[in-house]
Symmetry: C2
Subunit: 347 residues, 2 copies
């Protein structure tokens, strides 16, 4: 099995190094053969080649069995809205070219971290949400530009039936194996693209009579996620709303540093933390590697069908937390100083 | 002074009735003369006239000194994405026609409600955020429609320099009287309209050297609002992101039922709860009237310059809470049964 490691920018390098170590360990313990290759993307790729996603990277990714990705981004571009070439363009192009239209973001709190969140433990206990964020459509890929001599700027939110259908089917199928409920999030009281979204989800829902379907406006969803996270099972939503709601939902899992995601489509699968490049802590060895390690677990399960191996990784994470080890983002006043670790221990 | 009461749909009627009572009380106690008139909007107006915002309503609003608004919306339209006439169209048309481009949403927790939120009290204590949500631009007002025989739907996110400038100035001016910090929220790593937004906010910020400015991506903001609400002072953002983030932020104030808002522009001001029409509890007399009452307080302060009167209303709300009275949304296990009230007591 060929795995491409795509570290990207900032802490992407440190955390994917940990994810890769775990994959190597799994190969050794379970007797598998994983071949690793590296590819570049983002700021690093721009510096080296001028392009945020060089063709050689894309070629490697098209010819492998799974991808472990870190993060892209750099403060340089964030502070310069007029930059023409940007790290994020590489990320978006990759998602589109690889057809990664479904981004699965499981939000589940490890019992050991019940106190790490800003939300009350009694509200969180038992929360278990699986987000399906559509990843290759919406305002991320619609036409954009300037007019009136640059004084007006626009982006196009756009969805077609088939794009909504395929992600909706994935969400309903997943719900059948879980709590049998799908919450579809849109803004159909204002947006035409959301009204299409809602129509299509209503149509798809009819094919899954055993699944309860609920439609929720994005503003209400942003509120209810915090007020009563246990009210959700599977959530399906567009690219932009999914971006916002899953970052928010990271607080349900204690920290953004805990959350893994899987991007899948018709061919290769890509696995990545939902956190970003975090340049403020880059190179210090203090980043939380668990999101990348849990991404590796998702890779084993979804792309390779290695359930036992995937479970073993999750168990190892649980054990580490139970033994009291913490990274800074999830440490609390009770964490012993010598148990505060980061990527440097594994790196 | 002429005040138009615009009850709208669902609990809008019950809560504005309470807001009006408070305004009448203020007039009596402080010796003012307020003249009230009524106008229709939303589902109710559609049923009566076919239009979600009849011209007669608009005329009344253009010729008064302030408006106290309830809410619009009806499940009938939510479940029917193909409905051509919708209550929300009345709301959006009203905002546009009255030039209400700045929606102020103060998020502040009454000490008495420290335990009512799903967020930990130690995270909330002292949080005090003032949102400036742009209200007459963005994807709410851009061109929208269908193509490919209805199989594709689009909306246009669009901003022009002057729209961003005027709301940014309002935010920076307000920051000078508060914590001297503005957080501008956008998605400039992806959206062109956000890059324009960021450019303009950077330009405006230069004119306020005493105010610290911070730019944050909307996904990060959705997370940080819950993780550390005290990190925010004034927040300025576009129409869509503002819609989502302020609903989310309602959890900081314990309940959506507590939050008032002021929509201002160049002429008349409009005051409304940030909650919706809530048809599930309509007519039961259990809705929380405080958001409407606090909207009346904002009206007295901002449109009429009656600071003392406004303060008196807020003090009365505090006293009521201190005496243990609660509506269902903010009641907890310690609330005595006979102290659980709703709009019916005031109505
Ligand atoms: C970096 C950015 C373009 C990206 C997104 O918005 O999709 C990120 O926030 C994510 O969620 O993967
Ligand atoms: C009812 C709806 C159109 C409205 C909006 O999205 O602006 C509401 O959510 C609000 O925040 O006032």
């Amino acid at each position: 099995k060929k795995i491409v490691i795509l570290p990207g920018d900032g802490i992407g390098k440190e955390v994917t190094a940990c994810g890769k170590k775990v994959l190597e360990q799994v190969a050794e313990c379970f007797g598998h053969q994983f071949v690793f290759d590296y590819a570049t993307i983002g700021h690093e790729a721009i510096e080296a080649t001028g392009s945020p996603l060089p063709d050689t990277s894309l070629e490697k990714m098209k010819n492998c069995d799974a991808i472990l990705f870190g993060a892209v981004g750099h403060p340089k571009y964030d502070n310069d809205p007029s930059a023409k070439v940007r790290p994020e363009q590489g990320l978006l192009k990759m998602r589109k070219e690889l057809g990664l239209y479904a981004n699965l973001r499981p939000i589940k709190l490890f019992d050991e971290l019940l106190e790490a969140s800003s939300i009350k433990p009694e509200i969180l206990k038992g929360a278990d949400i699986l987000f399906f964020r559509e990843l290759t459509g919406d305002v991320y890929f619609g036409e954009r530009g300037r007019k009136d001599e640059g004084k007006t700027a626009y982006d196009t939110m756009i969805y077609s039936r088939y794009e909504v259908e395929r992600i909706a089917h994935k969400a309903f199928k997943a719900a059948l194996t879980r709590g049998k409920k799908v919450t579809s999030v849109d803004k159909a009281n204002v947006l035409e693209s959301s009204r299409l979204w809602r129509e299509v989800v209503q149509d798809v829902a009819r094919q899954y009579p055993d699944v309860e379907v609920e439609h929720m406006f994005v503003d209400a969803a942003a509120m209810k996620l915090i007020q009563n996270p246990r009210g959700f099972d599977v959530v399906v939503t567009g690219n932009l709303f999914g971006d916002i709601l899953t970052d928010e939902a990271s607080q349900i899992a204690g920290s953004m540093g805990m959350l893994a995601s899987a991007s899948i489509g018709d061919t290769v699968g890509l696995y990545e933390p939902i956190h970003g490049s975090a340049h403020d802590i880059t190179g210090k060895g203090i980043a939380n590697p668990l999101a990348s390690i849990l991404s590796a677990a998702l890779l084993l399960d979804i792309s390779f069908g290695l359930k036992e191996e995937s479970e073993a990784v999750i168990k190892a994470v649980e054990k580490t937390l139970r033994e009291g080890y913490r990274t800074r983002d999830i440490a609390d006043a009770n964490t012993a100083h010598e148990k505060i670790l980061g990527t440097e221990v594994m790196g």
